[in-house]
């Protein structure tokens, strides 16, 4: 039987990344602890439809999810917006605290009605899983780290044009999409 030459794995960029779309009706929990070297977010309506994102974990602080661990993770990652209107924008990853503890937050970059690409990846040539595990001290128990997109506040996309119409009365109680009155104050201070 002839010797079979093993096929080399295709070294495509797409294979090294996980892609998520953020927009109307899309999933609100995005796996971040993945064996991929980058997370590519297709952000529809940055700063108009999607405002920011939180990064949360199922870990307890006693298992590693301390403020310091979150800071290590923030320091280990880069976050960049690529937009045809605004160019490349570095997005800071900040550790936010609340009465319940700490988590990461990042914005979705400059405003656009179409779509921007936000890329979250480790600074070092490791996977997101490796970067996260290292930041949290390589917890022994199974756990998840999740990106939670948050809707934008202010003008909803159906009223946000470059023409900046005056605020209608009762802003926040739109007849079409009354999402604003139920938004959380996610900083929780």
């Amino acid at each position: 039987m002839p010797k079979r030459t093993p096929r080399r794995a295709a070294k495509s960029r797409v294979g090294r990344e996980v892609e998520y779309v953020i927009g109307k009706g899309t999933s609100r929990l995005l796996e971040a602890r993945v064996d991929k070297t980058a997370i590519r977010l297709y952000v529809n309506g940055p700063a108009m439809l999607v405002g920011s994102a939180r990064v949360l974990t199922s870990l307890d602080f006693a298992d590693g999810a301390t403020y310091q661990a979150w800071q290590r993770l923030a320091n280990a990652l880069t976050c960049t917006s690529r937009c045809g209107q605004n160019g490349t924008t570095k997005i800071p990853l900040t550790v936010a605290t609340s009465r319940l503890g700490a988590h990461l937050e990042f914005s979705m970059g400059p405003m656009s009605m179409y779509q921007s690409t936000v890329i979250l990846k480790p600074k070092k040539p490791v996977s997101m899983k490796q970067a996260i595990d290292s930041a949290f001290g390589n917890p022994r128990k199974p756990y998840s780290v999740i990106i939670v997109p948050e809707p934008a506040t202010g003008h909803a996309e159906h009223e946000a044009t470059i023409f900046n119409p005056p605020e209608p009365e009762g802003h926040g109680e739109h007849g079409e999409e009354a999402t604003h009155p139920t938004e959380e104050h996610h900083h929780g201070h």
Partner: protein, 338 residues
Amino acid sequence: MATDIRQNAATMPAADFEKFIKACVVLKSTMVSGTSFSVYDQWVAIHGSIMGVRTPGSAMFTNLGHQNIGFLPWHREYLRRFELALQAAVPGATIPYWSWEMTPEPSTLFSNARIHRIFFAASNASEIGGLFASAGPQTPPAWWPSGFRWRVHPALQVGAAPTLRRGSPADSWPPSLTSLTAIERINTAPAGVNVYWVFWRELESGARTHNTGHNIVGGYMMNPVFSPNDPLFWLHHAAVDRVWARWQANRVTAGATLLASYPVPTERSPFNNQLPPVGHRRDDLLWPWIGNTTGYAVNSPAAVQAMLPNFSAVAPRRIRDTFDIANLGGGLGGYQYT
């Protein structure tokens, strides 16, 4: 009226593509009598004004062309009417479609031989040059209007940019043929939800579809209000429309009707349980092709509104009138894609 054929912009005969470009230039260089703007500018103004339309009895201005289910029907009507305007300028001209799955550059399509470069994955935007050079083309074709330069009208500019530029750091492109085929075959939705919701959401705002395409080109294509300033807009939206047409054909093959492949007017959004805005529902009028219906308003600047043609003599059109590309009615004839 014969059925028009929209061809693949990358592979169609050069002479046919030239008809499209020539027709755009004719419309751009034909001034509306007594004004400072051209016929082409009027089409840009229509797209700009769809961003904020107040329908009769409403207190709000709503985007009737984007971000909801009317996105596809409105752009289909808009493109078809623009195509007929092209044919009035250059008989036989049709809108080519951008075959999204092709590697963008280097290519004949994105070169000065056709729609000009997009400077794929560039750090900064650059002037397109060629036929669209700020000083006019260095070697214009024989049909080029003497002294004409493609300039963006001041009322339709963003950031005081008078010339067309392209280039974006976004590089999430192209989509694969497999992914596009999968979109054209979307045929399932949660119980009680018209499958169109699933399809439309993917086509307008999914990964490597309409919104992404605008983002990777940049320049005016990335400005939602005045993106038709760039003639690539028409090729991009023909690609969008073609995916819709192929999805519709697949639905019909599977036993559905064109009418049933769009939510009924009483179906609430699966995102928020609200009815889609007036202007997006199946039986709603398509602004600006509203005939003599009164009570509509737009919130575009006065200079943009001044460019809008008077469509009152045109028979009113509705969302559902756009479902059959082979027979659009209303004097629009029909078309097909290769």
